[in-house]
Symmetry: C2
Subunit: 391 residues, 2 copies
Amino acid sequence: MIAGVGATDFGEHPDRTGRDLFAEARSLALERSAVPPDEVAALYYGNFMGETAEGQSHQAPLMAEGLGSSGLEATRIENACASGGYAVAEGVRAIRSGAADVVLVGGMERMTTLGTEGTTASLARAADELYEISAGMTFPGAYGLLADAYLDRHDGTREDLAHVAVKNHANATTNPKAQYRREITVEDALEAPTVASPLGLYDACPITDGAGAAVLVSPEYADTAGLEPKAVVTGSGRGTDALPLQGRDDLTRTPAAEAAAETAYEQAGIGPGDVDFAEVHDCFTIAEVLALEALGLYEHGEAIDAARDGETTRDGSIPVNLSGGLKAKGHPVGATGVSQLVEATKLLAGTHPNADAVPEASTAVTHNAGGTVATAAVHVLEAVDVEEVGA
Amino acid sequence: MIAGVGATDFGEHPDRTGRDLFAEARSLALERSAVPPDEVAALYYGNFMGETAEGQSHQAPLMAEGLGSSGLEATRIENACASGGYAVAEGVRAIRSGAADVVLVGGMERMTTLGTEGTTASLARAADELYEISAGMTFPGAYGLLADAYLDRHDGTREDLAHVAVKNHANATTNPKAQYRREITVEDALEAPTVASPLGLYDACPITDGAGAAVLVSPEYADTAGLEPKAVVTGSGRGTDALPLQGRDDLTRTPAAEAAAETAYEQAGIGPGDVDFAEVHDCFTIAEVLALEALGLYEHGEAIDAARDGETTRDGSIPVNLSGGLKAKGHPVGATGVSQLVEATKLLAGTHPNADAVPEASTAVTHNAGGTVATAAVHVLEAVDVEEVGA
């Protein structure tokens, strides 16, 4: 069960260290959960580029300071942009297995101080050094290839993709945590400079500093301690694919995310049709399209139409990235997978500024991807009936 | 249960990539386990300095290539020098929780191509950037402080510490995997250049390339598949301490390792008195002394005498680091915690070249530490009676 969540504002924090950012997110999560810090038995912490951004590896014990006892387990997980989602998944397993009653999951990234070039170089390390990085491939280029393949196969256009960015910017305008709280138009997107054809500047997420955290507890602990859980994770799936694109059979699908979704749905005992809203990994606009298809929310080749037709807007049949997504909320890499949990929890609990878009929602799905979806983590969250759980 | 283990030679491998090193270890472990690669459900992989050594983050999917299906979970864990031990612990949890029947745990580090200065700088990132690294602290200095504090408190000498190095070098002479297969004398150690007072060159482990892997399976899987498990992990404990030394109450003790040992012993239902031999984290000679006390094999202040008095030699009452330890076998950071499991398994199974030192051994303990023991992982391994398990 999710006892409490917290996050920093996403954006530029040039004057704050990583430990400072994570301390804020973790304090908020602990306070809201009403769990004393010394009851935390394990920390699973996602961080991607601490080595290059802050000269700091071994961040888990740093971020765990003041928690638990000497027997606390503090683990850093690095799975590129899926670091946070994998941290959540390990935390869920620790609770489910009975190994711990209280687990803190979290993530943090400081990126903006590296600048665009430094960040792009650091991000590239999530691709294959031997076959991709050394050939000059960076992520805009890699996702450009995915976009090319998809648009070609399914007769999509750059304009179709632009609608994803327009939608996510619109959602972010009312999320005070978001980095870009301003609307853009389809024309803005189409007129923006090309980053890696067919992707333009507004097809890409920004460079962001930020942190997120969530306190997970066992139902027994929640009951005994008299907590008020905000949501419950009923499904947790992970998947893997070949790291380099050259190892893939089909660039228009993401089997790692498909497998992760299948596991998560199976555990939750639901299907894509039961999902009320989704927070997905839109590091580029094409990534949101691929995500919705991997999650089974749309058939292959059909998600490209969803944003254009308004189906995934806040008033659509299945709102996607009500937070603003990576695109407009921001993408502090190691924090993103946890931030999705934070946002989805607040939306389900009705405490999110955009919760009015999904007043009846009971089921959400989060989708977090590493690299070109070489790793993926999918979680199903359900609204919790406190009385029922407490019984 | 440990179905099979494998490791590369430890030493200098300038012409081999990290993926090449890990592939060797993983292939050996899979072959010896007789488990088909596509049955692996999860990989937990320890790596510390891939970013700086090879420009490669996101190594988990790279190392998982060819394993399992799209639903495979591939997770990189970075907890400095305890990355491998924490990877083992997560793997054990995945099996115990019933989430997976077959898990590959492994670790790899390539260090020698960075040179001494580059490696020292990369290793320093495991200390606290704000309070230690920026003040010029590196690990020889940090362990020098620990040695100073311990020798002062317990009236020990540099010569006492030298016996740890002499013993571990002696053990390594008969381990073909070891980096330094030559004996040294107490005089060699005392006459060697000072690295960080009171520690000299022979108090420190070398810079090493290498990889290790182990296949963990559930008892049910082992039974159904007709495997011949080589040993069983009966205890798995972890602990955490403040990252910087300034956050510690007492520099002569390592509470993270004490807590990890307590958990591991409790799970195994044994005590320190039941341990037949140990593989411990002797990145510096003083670290072995601290480890033996944290494991409860000696009272505080008494382990300093153990090596000097020959109690921890191959013919002593409790052989320690029969592999040669980090000191002489080598210390490819991310691989070390897994390598300890590999060595202990072979010693228990009687297939290790030094197994004749412990012919009746049924219980071993491994101790892996990160930084100045800000993180620690302790595992209890027991010899397995195949007939009994198969029943």
